[in-house]
Amino acid sequence: MCAHPNPTDRAGGLIYQREFQAGLRKLSTNDYLVLAGTFHGVHAITRSITPKLPLAPSTSPVASSPGTTAPATSGYSYPNPGVPATGLEFLETDKFHLTCFQTLTGTKFLLFTDPLTGNVDTIMNKIYELYADYVMKNPFYQLEMPVRCEAFDRHLGAWLRGRT
C-alpha cells in the first residue's frame, strides 16, 4: 500500500505532503505544489460539468421537491437529487487510485493508494481525525500555513504503519 495524503487548503495551496511508501514517481516540492494547484482547479471544473437533467415543464418542482438541494426552480435537476454536487471524489488509473475528501470548510485531503488497497474511507477518516486533533487543536498552528506539527507526523506514521 502506498499512501500519500496531501491536505490542500481552500485556495489550492499545498500545506502538507508526505509519502509513506515508494510506488509513485518522486517529484520535486515545486511539482507537488503545481499538482495541488492544478487539482484544485480541476476539482472546481468537475463540479461545474455535472450533467443537468431537464425537469418536466408542467410540474411544479418547487412544491414537489421539498428538501432537495437540486436547483429545481431553474428547470433542471442533478442526476442524484438530494445530494449536493461535488467535484472529483475518486479517480482510477492503471497504477493507483486517488481519493479526494473535502471537509466542510473546504480543505481537501488527497490520498493516493495502490489499486488493491481497500477501506480507503476508513483511512481518510482517521487522517482527518488526526488532522483535527494534532493540527487544528495545536495552538501554535497558523491557519493556511504549511503543517509542521511533529505530533501529527508521529501519530500519522504510527497509525499507518500499524495498518500495513
Binding site: 492544478t38 455535472t50 425537469l55 415543464p57 414537489s64 442526476p79 482510477e92
Partner: protein, 162 residues
C-alpha cells in the same frame, strides 16, 4: 444505466464529435399528465443537443489536466480510466493516435473502458477512418458527423449500454 454525454477530441485538442442523451425529464410529482409524457417523448432519449461549446472545452480541460497529472505521478505509460463525483462518472479512453474518447454516465455504471474501445474499433475506425470521403483530420467535426457513424453510435448506446 443512463449515458449522459459522449465526446471525441482529436490530437489538436478540438472537440470533433459531441452528443448528449437526455434521459426523460424526471417528474418528481405524483402524476405526470399526458401532455408531459408526449413532450418527454419528443425531447427524450437520443436527441442531439446543440448547446454551446463550453462544456466540451471544460471536459477537455479536465481530462487533459488529469491525464498530465496521472502521467507525472504514475509514469509515462499510466493512464487514467475514470473518475467519479457525487453526481456522475466520467470514463476516458485514449487511442495510440491521441484521439480521446470521453463518456459521462451515472454513478452505477461499471467500467466503460471496453465500451469506449469498442466504439473506437467498431464504429470510429470502420465508419470514419475507413471512409474514403472522410478527411484525415476532422476540423469542426467534418467526416465524423456521417450518418452511419451517428446511427450506429446511437444504437450502441441505447441498445448495448442501456
Amino acid at each position: 444505466m443512463p449515458v449522459y454525454s459522449f465526446y471525441i477530441f482529436d490530437r489538436h485538442a478540438e472537440c470533433i464529435y459531441k452528443r448528449r442523451w437526455l434521459p426523460r425529464p424526471t417528474s418528481i410529482a405524483g402524476k405526470p399528465s399526458r401532455a408531459t409524457d408526449a413532450q418527454a417523448g419528443s425531447t427524450g432519449l437520443g436527441q442531439t443537443v446543440k448547446a454551446g461549446d463550453d462544456d466540451a472545452k471544460l471536459v477537455f480541460g479536465t481530462v487533459f489536466s488529469l491525464r498530465n497529472m496521472v502521467r507525472k505521478l504514475g509514469g509515462e505509460e499510466d493512464n487514467f480510466v475514470s473518475f467519479t463525483t457525487s453526481q456522475y462518472k466520467l470514463h476516458y479512453y485514449e487511442t495510440p493516435t491521441n484521439i480521446k474518447f470521453v463518456m459521462l454516465t451515472d454513478l452505477k455504471s461499471p467500467s466503460m473502458r471496453i465500451a469506449l474501445q469498442q466504439i473506437y474499433i467498431n464504429l470510429f475506425v470502420e465508419y470514419v477512418v475507413k471512409n474514403p470521403l472522410s478527411p484525415v483530420e476532422h476540423p469542426g467535426g467534418v467526416g465524423v458527423n456521417n450518418e452511419l457513424f451517428e446511427e450506429s453510435l446511437e444504437q450502441f448506446v441505447t441498445r448495448v449500454l442501456a
